[in-house]
């Protein structure tokens, strides 16, 4: 799963440089980099949308789970943006009349086939995207780091076996493998569907199961190199136990490149999750999720230009969200990789 350019080398040893040649801190460089700033702006915007979701798109009163999109009828024909509510609409948000001058709630982004309110789905889908991206990345990272450290710590035959197991998992194309895992897990975990988030959990696990290998390999390599450093020798010389050396000295010093690579991958995980939803295996029907909203347009291939809003709004939300992560990630990598810096 690791992206190709995992050329995150060791950070420059800045203490060896004369003060005048010290590169500015990572934070400063991120702020001065136009691309990363636009990335931060995008992500902040989405974070605000996610937090303010109940204000921006109020759920119907007495909703059991606000993550489910309210339906306005079951009309299979999509309705254009601005269509008024046919059924009882959710409460009017306070800013609505001031901004639009209308005194009734409409479907600002239109209705998808089946009566789903696209606006509501796009707004609340921001939460799904954040949760999917961050949780999946964190869990995948933890598993990768555990497996990689275990492998490097024990070495020898165990390392060899672990490496082969990692390679077996890497044999499959990522999306195909995640698709397979989701297919198997859906009936197994679907029993708890009443909770409402089962689809999210299923797709998440499916991605995690086939996502950890890149991190395991990366940290294994870094641990093997850190293990030979002087301070590890020193710790050993004063009689520290292996486990303590590992936890206190080796992993903290080796984990950094893996963290960076994982942060670069958040966008990929969001896309993969959305792709599973698009194929009908992620979020349950009606769950606020951009991939699923896009999938509603699959039945309208010949008339897509009439029903453009079914792809446009959720699709663009997804594109800009992923773009935000990628812009920040790209800048981080450029800054941390001195080889790249010379070329800029």
């Amino acid at each position: 799963m690791a992206s190709v350019d995992i050329a995150v080398s060791q950070p420059l040893d800045v203490d060896d440089l004369p003060a005048s040649r010290k590169p500015p801190s990572i934070g400063k460089q991120l702020i001065s980099n136009r691309l990363s700033v636009s990335g931060f702006i995008l992500l902040t915007f989405f974070a605000l949308v996610a937090i303010l979701a109940p204000v921006l798109a109020p759920p119907l009163p007495n909703t059991r789970n606000p993550m489910f999109i309210p339906r306005d009828g079951f009309n299979l024909v999509p309705q254009p943006p601005g269509t008024a509510w046919d059924r009882t609409p959710p409460p009017l948000p306070f800013w609505w009349t001031a901004v639009t001058g209308l005194d009734h709630w409409t479907h600002p982004f239109g209705l998808a086939s089946g009566g789903w309110d696209i606006y509501y789905g796009v707004i609340w889908g921001t939460r799904t995207a954040f949760i999917a991206g961050i949780v999946i990345t964190l869990v995948t990272l933890v598993i990768g780091v555990l497996v990689g450290s275990f492998s490097a710590y024990y070495g020898g035959a165990i390392d060899l076996v672990m490496q082969r197991i990692t390679e077996v998992f890497m044999t499959f194309p990522f999306l195909m493998a995640a698709l397979t895992a989701a297919t198997i897990l859906t009936p197994l975990l679907g029993a708890k569907a009443g909770v409402g988030d089962a689809g999210l959990v299923t797709a998440g696990i499916a991605i995690i199961v086939f996502g950890w290998m890149g991190y395991a390999r990366l940290i294994r390599g870094d641990i093997l190199s850190v293990r030979e450093r002087d301070y590890v020798m020193a710790a050993r010389a004063v009689g520290a136990k292996d486990f303590r050396i590992m936890i206190k000295h080796i992993i903290p010093n080796a984990v950094f490149p893996t963290l960076v690579v994982a942060s670069l991958d958040i966008g990929t995980y969001v896309v993969t999750f959305a792709a599973l939803s698009f194929l009908g295996l992620g979020a349950e029907q009606g769950y606020a999720d951009w991939g699923q909203l896009v999938s509603f347009s699959r039945g309208f291939i010949t008339t897509l230009d009439l029903y453009w809003y079914m792809i446009f709004f959720p699709g663009m939300a997804l594109v800009f969200f992923v773009l935000g992560w990628n812009l920040v990630g790209d800048a981080v990598r450029d800054i941390l990789d001195p080889r790249m810096r010379k070329t800029r």
Binding site: V4, L35, F278, S295, I301, W308, G315
Partner: protein, 358 residues
């Protein structure tokens, strides 16, 4: 170098063994009656009959026995005629029955694979050609306007999920302009292809069209391929562009390039003869990722463009929770990937002497 290749070759059976174990562990998560499709066509609704079949195919036995049966096949004596046959067996090429494809999984793959290969082969040409060209262009015009534009293109392209991109191009080029239709062939063309007079040399419509002297079939097939190729290509372009650009920049800073310039060679010669060949080494590694990208990409792309390859049927099977069919395709894809990786590794060793010496 031969030692290196042989070492790589020896790892493949070990990996394949691991792959089958992993896949079988997944299968064993299914209920016994769901696993019946490994051996028979229709799972009977009658519980007693199903139970009999489960016993007959040993689906209640310890997991390692079941694994061996799955791998090598199982002797099956017909209770009426007492004819003994071997059923199942991955090593015999029997992946089981596909409910989605209403055929054996092996047949479904056989029938649909040429379409996917056709798509992938046509896609590789623009992916590699245009991707490398853009990367070199960006590096040569380092920090100029064209470089900035290409960088933005790469990062936007990388962020554009293929299903959003595919639906947008379909919206524009098909629904609006009616230029490039989805599917694999127009109705009139598929009638021609299905007629007995049309010889299927490769089952790839573009090539068969040419071999049969039917230029109209070739063009019709190509017209259906344009949008899927574009959808498969743009995300790979972003990747190739990034890698080629940074590798080319690295290469342009080397002493031998300065020497070449100092000799008074034209800039064109410096780039084409001295800088670019060495910049291609990392690009070849990335081309391995292109194959992975294509195998992943065809799932979404074929689904959107209703293209009858292995990707679309895998997605269809997944949506219907037909686990055994999906697993069959996963295994097949994994095998392709193993072979592809081997080829890339060998190519790498041939090109870069540092690899084979280490």
């Amino acid at each position: 170098m031969y030692a290196y290749i042989i070492r790589r070759l020896l790892i493949i059976p070990i990996l394949l063994f691991g792959v089958t174990i992993l896949l079988f562990l997944m299968i064993s998560l299914l209920k016994p009656d769901e696993r019946l499709s490994l051996y028979i066509k229709d799972t009977p609704r009658n519980e007693a009959v199903a139970k009999g079949l489960i016993l007959r195919y040993g689906l209640d036995q310890p997991i390692y026995v079941q694994y061996a049966n799955w791998l090598f096949g199982r002797q099956d004596e017909d209770p009426v005629t007492h004819v003994v046959t071997v059923k199942g067996g991955l090593l015999r090429g029997d992946f089981g029955w596909s409910k989605t494809g209403s055929d054996t999984i092996a047949h479904v793959i056989q029938r649909r694979f040429p379409a996917t290969v056709e798509l992938a082969l046509w896609a590789i040409i623009p992916i590699v050609g245009v991707g490398i060209w853009m990367g070199v262009l960006a590096a040569v015009n380092h920090n100029k306007l064209i470089d900035q534009i290409l960088r933005v293109f790469a990062i936007v392209g990388y962020s554009f999920p293929s299903f959003v991109f595919g639906l947008l191009v379909l919206m524009f080029f098909y629904a609006r302009l009616q230029w490039f239709p989805p599917g694999r062939l127009s109705d009139w063309a598929s009638q021609v292809v299905q007629a007995p007079a049309f010889v299927h040399y490769t089952s790839m419509n573009t090539i068969d069209g040419l071999l049969n002297g039917r230029l109209d079939i070739f063009l019709d097939a190509l017209r259906h391929l344009v949008l899927p190729i574009l959808t498969l290509a743009y995300i790979q372009w972003a990747l190739l562009l990034k890698v080629t650009r940074s590798s080319m920049l690295e290469s342009l800073r080397q002493d031998y390039v300065t020497t070449a310039r100092a000799k008074g060679l034209s800039e064109r010669n410096v780039i084409n003869r001295h800088a670019r060949p060495n910049a291609m080494i990392p690009v070849i590694t990335v081309s391995g990722f292109t194959i992975v990208g294509l195998l992943n990409g065809v799932i979404i792309t074929e689904t959107i463009f209703v293209y009858p390859g292995i990707g679309s049927i895998a997605a269809q099977a997944a949506a219907q929770l037909d686990v055994l069919t999906v697993l069959g395709f996963t295994l097949f894809n994994g095998f392709i990937l193993l072979v592809a990786n081997l080829v890339v590794d060998v190519l790498y060793a041939v090109i870069d002497p540092r690899v084979r010496l280490s």
